[in-house]
């Protein structure tokens, strides 16, 4: 990760150790304004949270004997300027749609709840006072 210049007009680049992505540009203007094709810490956290919670729910469903055919999760991470505390990550909202052969509504709801509790990133966010909201819906087979 490299950053050049001051925060308002400077810009940085992010690369991953695994090589999965490299030299992604980011800046303050595109972090708090329109993204204009640039990623931001909060966007990366949204991707991380989506990956974490789908794996965790898949694990719970598998343990219940009904591995998911498909889990689709949309995660939105919100940053806000909180009075007296500056910019804070205030909320992460996960909306999940699932296709799970053999699971009924209540078994699915349990797996989502336990999966959310078992996702380390959900726990870290809640411990920090971030509002974590998970909505999940089972699709008709």
């Amino acid at each position: 990760m490299a950053w050049e210049g001051n925060v308002a007009r400077g810009a940085g680049h992010i690369s991953a150790d695994t090589g999965a992505f490299s030299d992604l540009p980011f800046s303050l203007a595109t972090r708090i304004g329109a993204a204009e094709g640039r990623t931001s810490p909060e966007e990366l956290l949204a991707a991380a949270h989506g990956g974490c919670i789908t794996m965790s729910v898949a694990s719970e469903l598998t343990q219940a004997g009904t591995p998911p055919q498909r889990l689709d999760a949309t995660t939105v991470v919100r940053m806000d300027d909180v009075e007296g505390r500056g910019h804070q990550i205030v909320k992460s909202t996960v909306t999940m749609r699932a296709r799970v052969p053999g699971a009924d509504e209540s078994a699915f709801a349990r797996a989502v709840e336990t999966g959310d509790e078992g996702c380390p990133f959900s726990t870290l966010l809640r411990n920090a006072g971030v509002d974590v909201v998970v909505n999940a819906e089972l699709e008709e087979e």
Binding site: M1, A2, W3, E4, G5, N6, V7, G10, G12, I14, A16, D17, T18, G19, A20, F21, L24, L28, R31, I32, A35, E36, G37, R38, T39, P41, E43, L44, L45, A46, A47, A48, H49, G50, G51, C52, T54, M55, S59, L61, T62, P67, P68, R70, L71, A73, T74, T75, V76, R78, M79, D80, D81, G86, I89, P120, F121, L124, L125, A128
Partner: protein, 144 residues
């Protein structure tokens, strides 16, 4: 003003044999990324993981906060090279984050740089969100 950033993820199958895809994000900058349990907990084989994305987010956030702190002291950095390493322990979660930063900052001594880096580590929004990680370390130096 609040800022929202979105990511779309699909997972297929069981945890151990299945796999997932980060399909898209608000900016489109990340592109499609495959994720698997093995890439998260064992050999990454070129694939990313939630923890690697958290590392990228933390390094980026920390760098912006440090750049801002230094600029407010009248010494904006020429360059900050930051790395964040997130340790994931299956069954336990995220147990450690190691931040290292090397700065080229005209007009700042090692002690003032370290103080500014410590402040960024405590106060950047991602650090705040990750505050309950058991151990977050910082190694901050000026480039020689």
């Amino acid at each position: 003003m609040a800022t929202d950033r979105r990511a779309e993820v699909t997972w297929n199958g069981s945890l151990m044999e299945g796999s997932g895809t980060i399909r898209s994000t608000t900016s489109g900058a990340i592109g499609e990324q495959a994720v698997t349990w093995a890439s998260r907990a064992e050999d990454p084989a070129g694939r990313t993981s939630p923890e690697e994305l958290i590392a990228a987010a933390h390094a980026a956030c920390f760098s912006m906060a440090l750049s801002n702190g230094l600029a407010q002291q009248g010494s904006a950095p020429e360059e900050l090279q930051t790395s964040a390493t997130v340790t994931f322990q299956p069954g336990e979660g995220i147990t450690k984050i190691m931040l290292t930063v090397t700065g080229r900052v005209p007009g700042v001594d090692e002690e003032a740089f370290r103080r500014a880096a410590e402040d960024a580590k405590e106060n950047c929004p991602v650090s705040k969100a990750l505050a309950s990680v058991p151990e977050i370390t910082l190694d901050a130096h000026l480039a020689t």
